[in-house]
Amino acid sequence: MTDVELPETPLLDELEKGPWPSFVKEIKRAAIEQEKAMKAGKKIKLPGAAKGLLKVLELAYKEKRTHWKHGGIVAVVGYGGGVIGRYCDLEDKVPEVWHFHTMRINMPSGWFYQTKALRAICDAWEKWGSGLTNFHGSTGDIILLGTRTEYLQPMANALAYLDKLYGSPAPFDIGGSGSDLRTPSACMGPALCEFACYDTLKACYEFTMRYQNELHRPMWPYKFKIKCSGCPNDCVAAKARSDFAIIGTWKDEIQIDQEAVKEYAKVIDIEKQVVKKCPTGAISWDGKELKIDNRECIRCMHCINVMPKALKPGKERGATILIGGKAPFVDGAIIGWVAIPFIPENELIEKCCEVLEAIWEWWDEEGKFRERVGELIWRKGMDEFLKVINQKADVRMVYAPRNNPFIFWRELNQ
């Protein structure tokens, strides 16, 4: 059927079997269709890249090792990140993927798209790259997988003029990598979710636009990530995956619609599924009325999750800032901890910017090479950090006070 010949890949072929969609099929599809497109007269700068990847990957499967080498090239004028350099160590055997650099493209807040935009990206990448992508990389960027050094700039230009050259509703810019602000990301928030306690998409967009320089020209000790979740469910895993997590919450009472509670009572066991599962025992239910002791409620979201029609976060909304979240490299994994317990919604973006800038200045000055901000706080102490962000201590920052009296009374020992 196809007149395109593919390399033999007995091991990879195994991964075409089974019900889950197959990445091997995707690579093969790119190999076949890109070649067909070229034969049909389309401009294709990097023919055979997907085919080359099949060869390299089959060998990796056979030998149980990678065949990629790191390259440090960025090669897009004006940018210090957003490109991951890759060379294959099988250069003469598989020249098609000798260079196989990745580009990270800043996605729109919340990963919403018009098809016109996606089609335009596809057309540009079919021409200038391997035709392979990731939707999305784990930081959130669109990942364009594999091109040569000399095509990095033209592809960046294609994206920068994606509206004019390819009919996209807007151009796309390059995302972050290296020691910079990484592409901020956000949950779908108010676009689709009734739990959102602040506008996550707007916040994410504002930070991205305001800090273009920090995103594109890495100068810090290491990476810095900002993620916006609209409520404590934290659907973008901001607490674990970002140095600066903005988690929506509220201060006043959970809003209750008693009629809707009664409707739920017909289909679920409120006592068992809601009352007993409340971590602080704040809820009671007598079969007629659901009562929540809002002094006891810790705003964990469980009851709201179970009865979204009946319960809603309160009206006094805002967000909690958690600082320091990161993967284990190098001093161990950290889930972000509370830096600012509550910022009201209407002050949120401005306050975050003020705090971010203070943190960056301090960290850029004091941080060691490859020290994430959480590790710097460990080294320097929370008391210093709180001074940096001009924040008073609050018992909500700890599970318990310290268990030793070895306090550094620096103010008495100048």
């Binding site: 991964l15 089974g18 889950w20 969609p21 990445f23 099929k25 690579i27 599809r29 990957l57 990796a60 030998e63 090792r65 065949h67 790191h70 890759r86 800043n106 729109p108 919403f112 798209y113 018009q114 098809t115 996606l118 596809c122 990448w125 992508t133 990731n134 939707f135 999305h136 959130g140 594999g146 592809m155 294609a158 003029y161 050259l165 810019d173 676009a191 689709l192 979710c193 009734e194 273009q212 594109h216 404590p232 469910n233 934290d234 895993a237 607490k239 674990a240 679920i268 599962k277 964990c300 979201m301 999750n305 179970v306 979204p308 993967a327 490299f329 190098v330 161990g332 994994a333 460990w378």
Partner: protein, 376 residues
């Protein structure tokens, strides 16, 4: 080839433009979403994969979710666009876990959409859960690059994910679990996928120090920056021989030196493999966020289908699913039954490798038990 004078492409002649940022999200929003922005009233799960969202205005939107392999060819992305044009007014969304979502206003189109996606793309509908009923589906596996593109992986990413999801397919398309379960994979301990707070995670681990090829080091490397790249100070320059010396007792097998210096590869086919972690959690619901804990220190790389890893993950998932109460995520379940019972029920072996001895972590001793209150 390169030197030929050819006609310039438009991309090669445009003026360079920087720092204009991503598209504004508003132009990417479906008209119904834009109209009801911030004014959603509630949601209801119609069937696995389909969430009905109702706005205060009375507008209704059906969000239909499908699992994707994350690695997509532009040709498949175009097919996705065709489907979005046909059913979803030219709009769509991806989720943080590599799923793709379409927006329907007409409930009668749900079934045809699911049919067409299954036929054209082979993507399954699912990945959702119904918190009201306390019935949960498994979402897609967040993962990284592996042998497809990275230089430091200790295992592949896409291949294991495919193998695990094939095995757990029905959990994705149905709501058969008692609570949320997030699975993720990172192909080395750098953990680009940040899998350190997932219910179940798989992490590629190297177990051998890099192999220094003195000759290649001399040819390809900057000795000072290679030495400086080592986070544990395990490397020293050897000025005389123009190479580096490695203190094997200090090395944590992170591969950072290999990033700087292609002359000291970290991969090792027989000794690289996969560790399995459990009981991480991120949401605040009921129980505070938790880091994942290692329960299997190493499993072999056995491509193309990694049966050992697949079976271990399945065993953990199914043991939990049969023993947990409604809403009890793995962390909460283990908190109730105790780690003694976890190892007993799953049949996993507890060994000295699972007692923390990574001294750089300030909280190293926090996991040591300080009471004689045991379960026997």
């Amino acid at each position: 080839m390169v030197a030929q004078e050819v006609e310039k492409e438009p991309e090669e002649t445009v003026e360079i433009k920087t720092d204009f940022g991503p598209p504004h999200y508003e132009i990417m929003l479906h008209p119904i979403i834009k109209k009801n922005y911030g004014k959603w009233k509630y949601h209801e799960v119609v069937r696995p994969g389909v969430i009905k969202r109702v706005a205060e205005s009375g507008d209704v939107l059906y969000v239909v979710r499908f699992g994707s392999p994350r690695l997509l060819s532009v040709y498949t992305v175009r097919d996705i666009c065709d489907i979005a044009d046909k059913y979803s007014d030219g709009y769509l969304r991806f989720t943080s876990r590599h799923n793709v979502e379409f927006f329907l206003t007409d409930p009668d189109k749900i079934e045809p959409l699911i049919q067409e996606v299954q036929e054209k793309l082979g993507f399954p509908c699912g990945g959702t859960w119904d918190a009201t009923k306390g019935e949960y589906g498994l979402s897609n596996i967040v993962h990284t690059q592996g042998w497809v593109h990275c230089h430091t992986p200790a295992t592949d990413a896409s291949g294991i994910v495919k193998s695990v999801m094939d095995e757990l397919y029905d959990y994705f398309t149905d709501h058969k679990l008692p609570a949320l379960c997030r699975i993720s994979l990172a192909c080395c301990a750098n953990m680009c996928g940040a899998v350190h707070a997932s219910d179940i995670s798989m992490v590629g681990v190297h177990r051998k120090i890099p192999k220094i090829d003195d000759d290649a080091v001399r040819r390809t490397c900057e000795i000072p920056s290679t030495v400086a790249a080592c986070p544990t100070g395990a490397l020293k320059p050897d000025m005389k021989r123009k190479t580096v010396i490695l203190d094997k007792d200090k090395c944590m097998y992170c591969g950072n030196c290999y990033t700087m210096c292609p002359g000291m590869p970290i991969f090792d086919p027989e000794n690289d493999g996969v560790a399995v972690l459990v009981a991480g959690k991120i949401s605040d619901a009921r129980y505070p966020p938790q880091l994942s804990k290692v329960v299997v220190p190493w499993l072999p790389n056995n491509p193309p289908r990694w049966p050992e890893v697949v079976q271990t993950v399945k065993k953990i998932l199914e043991t939990w699913a049969t023993h947990a109460e409604k809403y009890e995520r793995i962390a909460e379940w283990i908190h109730r039954i105790g780690w003694e019972r976890f190892f007993e029920l799953t049949g996993l072996e507890f060994t000295e490798k699972l007692i923390d001895d990574y001294k750089r972590t300030p909280y190293i001793y926090a996991s040591y038990r300080t009471s004689a209150a045991f379960r026997w």
